[in-house]
């Protein structure tokens, strides 16, 4: 910092009058941001003198400070806690599914548009059937993505398979887009031996190396710094790809969110942060979560480029994520996207959201702002889709999912040995011992253990 001060001509002038130039010049080896400088009483004196001088002469003076020139001002002005207007929300399709004139968005081909739509519909039907399966006691837990289909599918559509996905838990649509099969979804929810994660986690905790999708953890926010580290690696390896991580409005309160944004900016990591601001974190409304203008404004505080998008407009999501990806990779920078949306379903099957929010509110978002209907109308108006294809799609997908569920239900659970594997790369002696002991116990008391878990 001493050097920075020395570089500013005005300040050098002041300093020479104070007779400290020699001191500053003689210490060029001080680290640029040495904390000692802040404590240097000479600098304190300098500030006061400078202020006095500015008063009488020129107000257009700058402080050369790490990060660039900082203008001085004689005006004592606190930065307002909020801007006059809220940050606008980018959208391409209006409520009537009409393209907004003069809007800029990356063109989407009919094939991609139709796949976006069919995957959104598939996600909706899957949610409906799995949710029912939970209600019938066939799976222990479920959590829907209803209302957030566009964020899921359209963001996935804007990425390539080389882009690493680091999810929260309400983004199964990204996996669906990447070709994770309905059977694979069902196998995970039924914790059977075909589940790639070996039945160890609750339903909806998907993960797939093949699909470049880190395994979901229930812990909120913890995935965000992982995405930054992974993105840094991708940059170092010169990959034409980025990391993409998803989180909720609630997740933005965790310390990990702040760590991740700051790290991403400082490490110049090609990572896209996609916040699904769906208004609720279980029963907690965003007014109890933060008092900023949502999440998007946090970007600037960390030096991260950011945009707010209508999360229920698939075209806007697609365009924004495409542009973000381009910037992230070619400019080595993180991008923050805040998608405004609504959690139309209950938080999970453990929740009844009518206890804490008005049914009218839910219904309005479900009916008037459904992202799937909005996008469907648009592709129909383009002549890419019609009532017939719609009917065919819905009955085909329904059958596929029902079949997948029936099949998943009949498959055995993973074998007991999988209880001990993967804790480490190989079994340490304590686990070998416990494995043996457990097998003897099972032999003595077979009635204590489920029949569908092979030994």
């Amino acid at each position: 910092m001493a050097l920075c001060f020395a570089k500013s001509r005005n300040i050098v002038h002041r300093i020479s009058k104070l007779g400290t130039l020699g001191l500053l010049r003689s210490s060029p080896s001080l680290p640029a941001s040495s904390a000692r400088d802040f404590k240097n009483p000479i600098h304190g004196a300098l500030c006061i003198c400078s202020a006095r001088r500015f008063q009488s002469t020129d107000t257009k003076q700058f402080l050369d400070f790490p990060g660039g020139k900082v203008p001085f001002t004689p005006e004592m002005r606190f930065i307002s806690e909020s801007a006059e207007e809220r940050i606008p929300c980018y959208r391409v399709l209006d409520d009537n599914s009409q393209l907004i004139m003069h809007g800029n968005f990356g063109q989407v081909s009919p094939e991609v548009a139709v796949k976006i739509y069919t995957d959104m519909v598939t996600l909706q039907i899957m949610d409906k059937i799995f949710y029912e399966a939970q209600r019938q006691g066939r799976i222990s837990f479920y959590l829907t993505t209803i209302g957030e289909e566009a964020i899921n599918i359209a963001s996935a559509a804007a990425l390539t398979i080389d882009d690493l996905v680091v999810p929260q838990y309400r983004e199964p649509g990204v996996l669906l887009w990447r070709g994770f099969s309905l059977q694979e979804f069902a196998d995970q929810c039924f914790s059977n031996k075909s589940d790639g994660c070996k039945g160890r986690q609750m339903p909806i905790h998907y993960g797939s190396r093949e699909h470049n999708y880190f395994t979901v953890a229930s812990t909120i926010g913890s995935q965000l710094p992982h995405a930054v580290g992974a993105a840094y690696s991708m940059k170092m390896d010169g990959k034409d790809a980025c990391a993409v991580t998803y989180f909720g409005d609630g997740g933005s309160s965790e310390g990990d969110f702040h760590a991740a944004l700051n790290f991403a900016a400082v490490m110049e990591a090609p990572v896209i942060f996609i916040c699904r601001n769906n208004g609720w974190a279980i029963s907690t409304p965003t007014s109890d979560q933060f008092r900023s203008d949502g999440i998007v404004v946090r970007g600037r505080a960390y030096g991260v480029r950011s945009i707010r998008v209508d999360g229920n407009d698939a075209l806007a999501m697609y365009g924004a994520v495409r542009a973000a990806r381009e910037m992230a990779i070619s400019e080595h920078r993180p991008i923050l996207i805040e998608a405004l949306t609504y959690r139309v379903g209950h938080h999970s099957t453990s929740d009844d959201s009518t206890k804490y929010r008005p049914i009218d509110e839910i219904e309005w978002w479900r009916k008037a702002r459904d992202p799937v209907t909005r996008f469907g109308k648009w592709i129909q108006s383009n002549g890419w889709w019609n009532g017939e294809t719609e009917l065919e799609l819905r009955s085909r997908v329904r059958n596929q999912i029902l079949n997948a569920v029936q099949k998943a239900e009949k498959v055995d659970k993973p074998s007991v040995s999988e209880l001990f594997t993967d804790v480490y790369d190989v079994l340490p002696s304590n686990l070998c011992e416990q494995d043996e002991l457990l097998r003897r116990t099972i032999k003595r008391h077979p009635q204590d253990y489920p029949k569908d878990v092979p030994l």
Binding site: M202, S218, S283, D448, V453
Partner: protein, 362 residues
């Protein structure tokens, strides 16, 4: 299942009562008799809720906060509190555990009772630094000029049959390694209310783990009045002469079933509820082991580095010559908590029963 556990709840009450008659001092006996008479049948979350009502009612400087606390909490423990005491004293926090505990420390340091809820014990780790480096050392590092003794952290812990990695953990041992905080775990509704009131009013920061399996399932008579149960006092909840069993929280009901089965085989088990894990009541355990000559400890957390290891080491130090068999530990396995393998992972009744038999027949 619900019915089964409810019957446990009822089943345990007479046992507690028997203990009251046989071992308690006469004053607690009278107290317990009165409690028994004025009690109302309720489950564990209602008992917690009642304790929180009492604290907010009796202490104007008490606050209750945490994620989703306003609408009653995901386990309903804070139901009705906002309506009764207002949103300045009972409130939602942002989703940030380190914030919740750090805020609670500051609030407590200003002479308040800060009652913080961590939604699941599995999510207490983001607050680990605030608990271990801040709350636990606040008094010591300031030469007792400052303290955050008014802080109580409540967190539901333990297996629930479908919780997987992140809704099942029993992290108590981590906190037992931290001088400066207390760790308390109740076994039943009546215990939960009396112990929670003690924790909140104790002049030290306390981590209070609630057995979430029992929130609805354990039902027993709970006195409606304001009563406190002592911390750092274990309780012999079943007397016996052949072996001592030590446990806490939800595990006690499993251990008790094992004791009943062992009795059919002519083995007389003494069962101790430790209640406070630190600072723990070594004397009660030692006295019992001196009588029985054998010790078995059971907890859901992984066996390695679990609090059972500490109990075992202490009792071996104190009772080495009196022990007739190695101390047995029947605990969770050294793996993350697994979803489909939960029945294999947990220290169930027959695992305990086998260990009782092999220890007695050593």
């Amino acid at each position: 299942m619900a019915a089964k556990l409810r019957s446990y709840g009822r089943g345990l009450a007479p046992l507690l009562w028997r203990r009251g008659l046989s071992n308690a001092s006469s004053s607690t006996m009278i107290q317990q008799q009165q409690q028994q008479q004025s009690g109302k049948s309720m489950n564990l979350y209602s008992a917690i809720n009642q304790a929180l009502h009492i604290v907010l009612e009796t202490d104007p400087r008490a606050y209750v906060f945490g994620e989703d606390v306003s609408f009653g909490g995901v386990f309903r423990c804070t139901t009705g509190l906002v309506d009764r005491f207002g949103k300045n004293r009972v409130f939602n926090t942002p989703l940030c555990e380190q914030g919740i505990v750090g805020f609670g420390i500051g609030l407590a340091a200003m002479g308040n009772r800060a009652i913080a809820e961590i939604q699941f014990a599995d999510y207490i780790y983001p607050a680990f630094d605030q608990i271990v480096n801040e709350a636990a050392k606040f008094r010591y590092r300031s030469g007792n000029q400052f303290n955050c003794g008014g802080l109580t952290i409540r967190a539901p812990y333990g297996a629930v049959e479908h919780g997987g990695h992140y809704h099942s953990q029993s992290p108590e041992a981590f906190f037992c390694h931290v001088p400066g905080i207390k760790v308390v775990i109740p076994r039943s509704p009546r215990e939960a209310k009396g112990l929670l009131l003690s924790c909140i009013r104790d002049p030290n920061p306390v981590v209070f783990f609630e057995p979430k399996l029992l929130y609805r399932k354990a039902v027993e008579e709970v006195p409606e009045d304001d009563y406190m149960l002592p911390l750092s006092e274990a309780e012999v909840i079943r007397e016996g002469s052949d072996i001592t069993l030590v446990g806490w929280g939800a595990q006690l009901s499993i251990m008790e079933q094992a004791c009943i089965d062992a009795e059919k085989d002519g083995i007389s088990c003494e069962l101790i509820d430790l209640k406070t894990l630190i600072p723990w009541d070594k004397e009660t355990v030692e006295t019992s082991v001196r009588k029985t000559g054998r010790l078995l400890i059971s907890h859901e957390a992984p066996v390695t580095g679990g609090f059972g290891a500490e109990i075992s080491a202490s009792i071996v130090e104190r009772c080495f010559l009196r022990l007739e068999a190695p101390v047995a530990r029947v605990c969770g396995l050294d793996t993350p908590f697994p979803l489909v393998f939960e029945p294999f992972y947990v220290p169930n009744k027959n695992k305990i029963l086998d260990a009782i038999k092999s220890t007695v027949n050593y």
